[in-house]
Symmetry: C2
Subunit: 504 residues, 2 copies
């Protein structure tokens, strides 16, 4: 299937990439997708990376019920407003066969209180925290949940905003503001570490402005990468949510001064959308592109054989390469990850498929390295090594290939990150007039001075459809532009530039 | 909380174990449980083990929708009969605030077709397989899904049979009966490998008799361990399901002779109940007992300190042990597992809890090894090493402890398996008269000759409440009793003994 170019129809391009690489498909259930094995394997790599990083920072996993009693959602008005209206509602608990042997909902099996399929889990989690927190000695609670989430979205978007999606959500409980804020900031850094070192994505980091924090949050820290259409896609916000849920669910504890206080809450999540983020960051008009740290398969080995004996011989011939692959790991620079990424290879010896079909399938799935062996190669101690990112193909000695493979995977990982960083930096403009902002922000990231007033932010938003994505940490501002200035709208003093962009 | 002895109230004993080790709690949603971090960590170890074993046998993971359209369930009569009647039914997709600001189900947001929260996933999976299978070249499909399942059980049982539970389900699709049967048998062996080498449980293996196969299955292979109340708990059946679903969902393919045929299906699953199986196999009247291959934490280190400096010194003092732990792995004898089990330690340096509270908490969670260090120990290069299974405590040189830890963990794992095997063997009786069977099967496993007739099986079942658990493979029959004989009911010829037992 040909891929629609990005600048012709960005959404269609995204769908084409997903379908060509066989990542997902629409199911027979409205806006629910089937996550196919290749996508799921990427998700597992992401999960493994995050899991190691979160465990290293003291977090544990747990699981809370799928269903939320309707009354739980009513407890918190903002919750209803933001999450809970468009949702799947369970009203009955039994089917029966009617007189015509047709399967119908049994009207006598109506629930006393309806159950909502979780659109988010705060209420059910805090209901449980209430039972386990009495004293500051029971805190902090640092829990992560991996779960399926259902929202009856009216604005669905295939493979990006679906009715059901998979998510990790962290809900931590703390005794003091300081501890909650430290957690919020640390996990924001962990996100950045993950984005940079695994996803090969270089985002801009910083707090959200006051008016754009998550509902009820004291602070919200954002991770804002640039997609290939130059738009921002918010990924992995980290929130310090104060005592709001502690009060709503009446979760009190005795602090170290023996006073009663409400528990503090921080929260963050990542979802199936991460894969969308990955695709939109690296893939091009021809195909899916994957960083090796996330790729499900690093090396596909295609033996060209006619008989089982030939296949056997090729496998024996390749054994030194296999042994080497099994003994090495992909290099990860992360500060928090302490697990290993094994090099995954697949010997595609399916005798029902032609060589060309195999080459094409692995091409579309963007396996970073392909090794092909013809019987004649063996006479010369050669193999054919194909490098997916550059398209370079060479016939080299097997003894040379052995030492080349792991460095090549590390090189491809670094190259993708550097490309992504450069793309963002090259497409970020530092402007000092509103006129210039209005022009540049139509397409690119813009760093400009802002006085911190809601009024100025809204004016820009109304007139350009761009928003303040975050107040970048100092390290994300080019040294040449690190000076105090005047707000481009009001002319008032401004301590630093903020990031304006259009976004998903 | 004191633990109710097993022979006083087995169910209450199970609940007490779960609560003392802080494994799970009831939630505010009817018969849905909160899976707490310690249980969840065991589940992660189980999942990691199975995942490696299944990937090594060519399987991949994918994810299918949570919701099943009602019409899908109607397609297959047996499906409705077995799974689909007691289930959670989504009928609406929106809440709204009524005139009194009360949150109600919006009557205008009624679904045209109701959605069932998956009680099992065959129908939605086969609906997807239909779209991807055309030729024998597209087969086999070897997919596993990890998912939450909901059944509105009328006979619930806390922590064992709950409304929502977590499950892995494998649904494979094949071109030929032989291939499907080979898969069914192989995965049955994988289950046994997992039970033996990870769970330290020694089950009896073999096919189910004709009359007790899974609905619609051509063959069903069972894994039947003995619980500590001498009952069998069926765990991990493997089914060759023929062309039933291929026909119901009209999944046809062109075979290698260019003829149209229906796809063959095999299936198996394991669920949250595995943890129940584990608890009921090893735990005793005092506490939870865990095999190290599944235990979330292998070593808890409790430094006894007054000041941060003392804690620092103890940590430095222990560094050689930590380094050693980090460099070693738990030994696993599995034929299919090729991953590693790291040794997990936790330094419990929480200064808000007393030493005694810490000792007690880790005791209840059955961490296999505890190391405690007092400042005075450091003067003599000693540590206190406590072995959880035997209760032995010794003060030994740190240099000796280093080489003792990993072998000790391996020893505990082996010991639990041997104990479980011996328990089953010691409590299995070989009988040759119906009178003796009736007496022995009230409590124990019984191996007796059976003529293979439903009539004889039903007579025993009616009169004793015991069933034929499986037709054991030869290796599970004691050599002394491996002879052909006469059915203890009918007196007809019988080729081999079968396993009779009461079960969960």
């Amino acid at each position: 299937m040909p891929i629609t170019p990005r600048d012709q129809d960005y959404s269609q391009w995204y769908n084409d990439i997903v379908q060509n690489a066989d990542l997902a498909e629409n199911s027979s259930v409205r806006w629910c997708m089937v996550i196919k094995p290749y996508w799921f394997a990427m998700r597992e790599n992401i999960q493994k990376a995050l899991d190691s990083m979160f465990k290293n920072t003291g977090h544990v996993n747990a699981y809370f019920p799928l269903f939320i009693p309707k009354s739980f959602l009513s407890k918190e008005a903002e919750h209803v407003e933001h999450f809970a209206k468009e949702c799947a509602i369970v009203t009955h608990y039994r089917l029966k066969l009617d007189d015509n042997k047709k399967l119908i909902v049994d009207p006598e099996a109506k629930l006393e209180e309806e159950l909502i399929v979780r659109p988010t889990s705060e209420t059910i989690i805090w209901d449980s925290y209430k039972r386990r927190v009495n004293s500051y000695r029971d805190l902090p609670i640092l829990i992560n949940q991996r779960a399926n989430i259902v929202r009856w979205e009216m604005r669905t978007r295939i493979f990006l905003r679906t009715t059901e999606f998979l998510r990790q959500e962290w809900h931590t409980a703390h005794a003091t503001y300081e501890e909650a804020e430290a957690e919020t900031k640390k996990m924001h850094r962990v996100y950045n570490d993950f984005a940079t070192n695994f996803m090969a994505i270089s985002p801009v980091l910083g707090p959200k402005p006051e008016h754009d924090k998550f509902a009820g949050a004291l602070t919200t820290y954002a991770v804002e990468p640039m997609m290939q259409d130059f738009k921002a896609l918010q990924a992995g916000t980290s929130h310090n949510l104060g005592q709001n849920f502690g009060k709503v669910f009446d979760v009190k504890f005795t602090n170290d001064k023996n006073e009663l206080d409400y528990v503090r809450w921080t929260s963050r999540w990542v979802s199936t959308r991460l894969i969308g983020w990955l695709i939109m960051s690296h893939s091009d008009d021809k195909w899916l592109v994957l960083p090796p740290a996330i790729a499900p398969i690093h090396i596909v080995i295609v033996p060209i054989f006619k008989t089982p004996e030939e296949l056997d011989n090729i496998k024996k011939y390749l054994q030194p390469i296999i042994d080497k692959i099994n003994s090495e790991k992909i290099k990860i620079k992360s500060e928090y990850f302490d697990d290993e990424i094994r090099i995954v290879y697949k010997i595609d010896d399916d005798d029902k498929k032609s060589m060309w079909r195999k080459f094409n399938e692995w091409e579309l799935k963007w396996v970073p390295i392909r090794i092909a062996v013809w019987p004649r190669d063996m006479e010369n101690w050669n193999i054919e090594l194909y490098r997916r990112d550059s398209g370079e193909k060479e016939s080299i000695k097997i003894s040379d290939a052995i030492n080349k493979i792991t460095p090549l995977l590390n090189e491809i990982q670094d190259k993708l990150l550097n490309k992504n960083r450069k793309f963002r930096e090259d497409n970020t403009y530092y402007v000092d007039s509103y006129e210039e902002l209005k022009e540049k922000v139509q397409k690119w990231f813009v760093m400009a001075h802002w006085d911190g007033e809601l009024e100025s932010a809204l004016k820009i938003q109304d007139e350009t459809k761009a928003t303040i994505r975050c107040i970048p940490f100092d390290e994300f501002i080019d040294d040449k532009y690190k000076w105090e200035g005047k707000c481009i709208i009001s002319g008032k003093n401004s301590k630093q530039r903020v990031l304006f962009a259009k976004s998903y």
